[in-house]
């Protein structure tokens, strides 16, 4: 049933020793890897048929003091969705841009820069994207208190939750 | 009689023009499976626009340009015979009409230029290019009429067609008539040639900064222009009219035909419009002119 996925898992495990590969269900592949070898893994996967970058997500793990970047790749031939995950420091977050590999990563990186404050080296277009003249902490971080901010900014009355 | 018609002609033209606006909205609505607004809706609109107050001024050139456009259109109306009413028409008035027809676009261009909006300036440049596109076949067709009728008077050209139906310009000069009919939408600014005011492309083009009474005057002017172009076509190729009634009936028929074309075609791009105007109507008008010259020796 999941032969292709197993093959892919072995291929990655053979080339990247520090990569931890799991197969949660059919058509899904999760690789957790250190931030140093992430770009080479992405290049490897791209050469291996994962040519479609679906999404770049960022998850704020406040308790662990880390930001997790998740790169979602899809292979049109193998029909596998690979999630490549890595963790970076939360205090002064910066990472390498993957624009040379996937051109439209530019927009995702722009959004993550705006929403989480991760600076991507090599992306020259880290300009305001969805927010207009935003002052204050990046809004998608977990320590951004939404309700307090809204109450102060818009003078809304107290409302039962 | 002539003195009276100088007053009656513009009034009649205004009434017909406003009726046309109402009719066009109603007919278009019916084609689009809608009920449509009442026939007098344009009157309400114009009344409303005159009572609105603009919060800003665009400067004197803007005001003058709009008035120039309206004045130019009213002046042309005086030269177009409606049935028996001749207005100011006398020998050589066809040439006068051709020259006066340049005034309204010029006025609108001045006003739009003064409004300093990029959409307006693009609209004006499109208007001028489009004018270039339709002027060539139009002038060729009019030249054919002039040579065939051996006259430069609109009145004479019309009256010479009134002996019988077969004497109409449509049957005497079929190619020129067809060429003129094909460029009628371009002259009026209807689809497929409405790129001048294309709201989806340049936010209604030259009219983008027009509001309140300026828009009222501009819409009256465009309605008058519509009437003028169709009336000219009727006079040149459909034999005018023995009286005002038959004349206006013919104008209405041509108007509905143009409206139907308007309803079933999308908009040309600028270069396509230019190419179409020069290719088909231009060619037809040229051949028509040659035929007219040959047949009149």
């Amino acid at each position: 049933m999941i032969e292709v996925e197993e093959q892919q898992k072995n291929k990655i495990a053979a080339n990247f020793e520090n990569g931890e590969v799991t197969l949660p269900r059919k058509g899904r592949l999760v690789v957790t890897i250190s931030k140093e070898s992430l770009c080479s893994l992405l290049l490897f996967l791209k050469m291996d048929g994962f040519e479609h970058l679906s999404l770049i997500s960022c998850v704020d793990w406040l308790g662990e003091g880390e930001l997790e970047l998740v790169y979602h790749l899809w292979s049109y031939q193998k029909k596998i969705h690979a999630m490549v995950k890595t963790r970076i420091d939360r205090e002064s977050p910066h990472f390498l841009s993957i624009i040379p590999l996937f051109r439209h990563a530019q927009t995702y990186e722009r959004e993550i820069y705006e929403m989480f404050g991760v600076r991507f080296e090599g992306n020259r277009r880290l300009i305001p994207f969805l927010l207009d003249n935003w002052q204050g902490a990046p809004p998608m971080r977990k320590d951004f208190d939404l309700r307090k901010y809204v109450k102060e900014k818009f003078d809304v009355e107290e409302r039962a939750e | 009689m002539q003195f009276l018609s100088v007053i009656v002609l513009p009034l009649l033209a205004f009434m017909v023009a406003v009726l046309f606006l109402g009719l066009s909205r109603k007919i278009t609505a019916r084609i689009q499976r809608r009920y449509g607004p009442p026939l007098y809706q344009p009157v309400i609109d114009v009344v409303k626009l005159f009572t609105q107050e603009e919060n800003i001024s665009h400067g004197p050139v803007f005001d003058l340009g709009v008035m120039l456009a309206l004045g130019g259109s009213v002046a042309i109306v005086l030269f177009i015979p409606v049935g028996g009413m001749l207005g100011l028409s006398s020998s050589g008035d066809l040439l006068v009409v051709i020259y006066l027809m340049l005034l309204p676009p010029l006025g609108m261009a001045l006003a739009a230029g003064a409004s300093a909006n990029p959409n307006a300036s693009i609209g004006v440049s499109r208007k001028l290019i489009l004018a270039l596109a339709y002027e060539v076949p139009f002038l060729l067709a009019i030249l054919a009429v002039m040579i065939y009728g051996k006259t430069t008077s609109l009145m004479e050209a019309t009256q010479s067609q009134q002996s019988s139906v077969l004497a109409w310009g449509l049957f005497r000069l079929p190619l020129s008539a067809l060429a003129t009919f094909l460029i009628l939408p371009a002259m009026i600014g209807m689809r497929p040639f409405d790129m001048v005011t294309a709201p989806q492309e340049i936010a209604s083009g030259p009219l983008v900064e027009f509001g309140g009474k300026y828009l009222a005057i501009a819409s009256l002017q465009s309605a008058l222009h519509l009437y003028i172009v169709i009336a000219l076509f009727v006079n040149l190729f459909l034999g005018g009219g023995a009286n005002a009634g038959t004349f206006l009936a013919k104008v209405l028929v041509v108007f509905v035909a143009v409206l139907l074309i308007n309803a079933v075609y999308p908009r040309f791009r600028m270069d396509q419009g230019l190419r179409f105007c020069w290719k088909w109507p231009g060619l037809l008008a040229l051949v028509g002119l040659i035929i007219a010259m040959v047949s009149r020796g």
Binding site: - | F50, E54, I56, G211
Partner: protein, 182 residues
């Protein structure tokens, strides 16, 4: 039209015009815009009421705020509103302009539209049905008749109040946004 109606029209033609010729700015401010195409097309046909969408704010006199208003849109709304000629009417469409609606705790949408620009009427619901727009339009006619739809006058009289609120959420707004901006 009967005689009484004609007399009324002749007495104040401006009011007649403003009532039956409401031109809407074509501005999709939020998801409520999805109900505007049905309203202006064959099934509901708002043109019967003289309501048509127009391309530029200079030609319009009715502003439908369709749905939630984000901060970036609010700047555009204020600018558009300033460009409209008097008299002009604003109708808030949907729950979101009234009190924030579904987005009552969002960091990027405003909660009470009437703090920033004067609003003459509200249509509640998410989504309001197209019929609700017609009820709003007929209601607006009554308001215009009784001269109660005077939000544009209120805006001029109480401009400092509105400006202060606008500046609170949009500190970077250009200084002269009121009447007189070109």
């Amino acid at each position: 039209m009967d005689r009484a109606q004609i007399r009324k029209i002749l007495k104040s033609p401006g009011k007649w015009g403003q009532k039956y010729s409401l031109w809407v700015v074509y501005f999709c401010t939020g998801c409520g815009i999805i109900e505007i195409p049905p309203v202006i097309t064959s099934r509901w046909d708002a043109e019967r009421f003289g309501v048509i969408p127009v391309a530029t704010p200079r030609q319009a006199n009715l502003f439908l705020i369709t749905g939630y208003v984000s901060l970036k849109t609010l700047g555009a709304i204020i600018r558009t509103y300033d460009q409209m000629p008097d008299p002009k009417y604003v109708v808030g469409f949907g729950s979101c302009p009234i009190n924030g609606g579904m987005y009552w705790d969002s960091y990027n949408t405003i909660k009470h539209l009437d703090k920033y620009i004067p609003v003459d009427g509200w249509i509640s619901g998410c989504m309001p049905r197209p019929e609700a727009i017609f009820i709003a339009v007929t209601h607006l006619w009554t308001l215009i008749d009784k001269e109660l739809a005077n939000g544009y006058k209120r805006y001029k009289e109480e401009y400092p109040y509105y400006e202060e609120n606008q500046r609170q959420v949009l500190p970077h707004l250009p200084k002269f946004t009121g009447a007189g901006e070109t």
